[in-house]
Symmetry: C2
DNA sequence: AGCCGTCATGTAATCCATTACATGAATGGC
DNA sequence: GCCATTCATGTAATGGATTACATGACGGCT
């Protein structure tokens, strides 16, 4: 580790005091242009980099944003992450990623601890459970934004898409195609997005006067895994009266459903229509291309960081509840319902 | 932001000096058990968390590891990342992710700057170009580990798989299946892995006395994109004498190749064998399941962090060059070559 | 001329944990 | 019984940047 140049070195080289150097480099004015010139030249030549620990200690900030993410392998989260990182870099913040694996392991003590330990200036959660009401305590003390998932009915800033409407549109589209027995593969987690997508599904059925049928509701594992999507589909498709269409709350689940259908000799979309949710990259990497709901992950990430920044700098009138537009994208896994003769 | 408890508060509450508190909490001995007891009790009750900026300033460390990653959407990188994060957390380090997008934008000045700006204790690069020799300068000054990609012929610690052998095995397998015209879709980047996979491809041809044919070598874009895999495949398959098998240097490229083949009316594996590289999740999400080379991404991540830690604490005899085992996995995209009559 | 205000710059306090050094007590060897 | 050593603990210096306050110069006003 090479010896670090400190502000004192710059001051000596420029023939001024440390205060002046600091003022120049932090652009606080009250310094003669020619003095500024000297200081900048000295700082450049010595390749001076301020010691962040010292600065943060003094200013009582860290310029670090903590991101609570459940896993990186899901392309949904990696896109959000990219959005956050891009904006935070522009704003001069570093992003520290804390892998939560299972969001059930989070609690108030742990999150408080993370905040204090890392002296983070703010936090973005990517996967909070909808009943984690303790988060309100945290949000009262530290800047926080919930991205994608958020705690229901609590006034904590969050950003997401309108999952309920999106799901309803998606299922209504299936109904318009003539489907009446429509199954849902949802996830056995406590995310609000899952709950709202389920609500949207029920909304659509109700609007079309289709009675709710518990047997058409299947639960995949909490992590949206491909394998659990297959398993859930097997249950639905083994029903005496199987569905002609299945709405899935995530793309990976939908892929699992398609795989299971194939194994059972069903052709998608001819024998079964399937829709996904999120529109991750690989929905168009192989046929049939997936009909799904596109969610602007990258933008969700960007906007969360902007919202968080507004909170950190206490911008007056900062938004606390943002919904970005979604879009149902009809591709190749859905088709008109054709009753077999 | 609530007022922070500082060491002085703990000292007062425990009726000792700050030095004693520090000694107890840092387990440096020379403190009576009963005094330790008092201090720990006070610290617990006040929920004392040391101020990291202050500690780091004093100890001249940061407990932060910088990770240079090109993009998160590639599942290869997200798995490596997960491995790094898991180990670093256990060792008490935070991981700071710097998105490099394009590894060509990296240079000595930028990397030095990143080190100094973030006061990182060490760095792991995920995608350095094989000719970025300036990295040697950096490695002389700061702890550094190159994961997956590394600079060729420079003595900088690195960890990866033996790409050349893996590629050779993979192509030899195709040859054993009777293929003689074997194309390669590689990437137009400057990564050593691409170069070595190409070398392995050539090794296998040479061993089987198959002449090298430049027209069978196609370059996809630098980022391994699905679309560029399709484009490269179109070139190869439009040849007067097209290949009967294509070796791809990444799974996504292979998916692109399969898509392009399908569009041109070719059935994989009957009309064309395809192999990938990495074995990312979605190789078995739809049929045909991809024949590929499995690379232990997660373990590569884990071991990089361990190697880096050894360097940081200056463990004597720390390894500087590690290769983890790979495995050719034959699935459904490859088949015996059957010359059409 | 005398006073005040503004501006450029400097001096020194501050942020908080760590740790070198200092102190005083206790123990052990002779 | 005395000196040396070890041990428990305290006091104060330290790390580097920021910034409140101090200083001195200069210009303008009455």
């Amino acid at each position: 580790m090479p010896r670090m140049v400190k502000i004192e070195d710059v001051a000596r080289a420029a023939g001024v005091s440390v205060a002046t150097v600091s003022r120049v480099l932090n652009e606080q004015g009250h310094v003669l242009p020619e003095t500024q010139e000297k200081v900048r030249k000295a700082a450049d030549e010595l390749r001076y980099q301020p010691n962040l620990s010292a600065r943060n200690l003094r200013k009582n900030e860290s310029r670090i944003i903590l991101i609570l993410a459940p896993n990186f392998s899901n392309p949904y989260y990696s896109n959000v992450l990219a959005g956050i990182c891009d904006v935070s870099r522009n704003l001069g913040y570093s992003t520290l990623i804390y892998n939560t694996y299972d969001s059930n392991a989070l609690d108030q003590t742990l999150v408080t601890h993370l905040f204090q330990k890392n002296r983070a200036d703010g936090m973005i959660t990517l996967a909070i459970n909808r009943d984690d009401r303790w988060l309100t305590q945290i949000a009262g003390k530290y800047p926080l934004v919930q991205c994608s998932e958020y705690v229901e009915d609590e006034p904590i800033p969050h950003i997401s898409v309108d999952n309920r409407s999106a799901a309803k549109e998606s299922v209504s589209m299936l109904i318009a195609q003539g489907h009446r027995r429509i199954g849902i593969v949802t996830s056995a987690n406590r995310y609000l997005s899952s709950a709202n997508r389920m609500r949207g599904y029920l909304d659509a059925l109700e609007e079309a006067d289709i009675a709710r049928d518990e047997s058409l509701i299947a639960y995949a594992s909490a992590d949206y895994s491909f394998a659990s999507g297959k398993q859930a589909a097997r249950e639905l498709l083994s029903l005496p009266e199987p569905p002609s269409a299945i709405f899935c709350v995530s793309d990976i689940l939908a892929l699992g459903v398609i795989a299971a259908a194939g194994k059972m000799g069903l052709q998608v979309p001819w024998d079964l229509s399937v829709t996904g949710f999120d529109d991750v990259d690989y929905t168009t990497m192989f046929h049939p291309y997936l009909t799904t709901v596109s969610v602007p992950c990258y933008d969700l990430g960007r906007r969360s960081m902007q919202l968080l920044y507004d909170q950190i700098v206490q911008k007056p009138g900062a938004e606390r509840e943002v919904y970005l537009p979604h879009k149902v994208i009809v591709r190749e896994t859905t088709a008109q319902y054709a009753k077999q003769q």
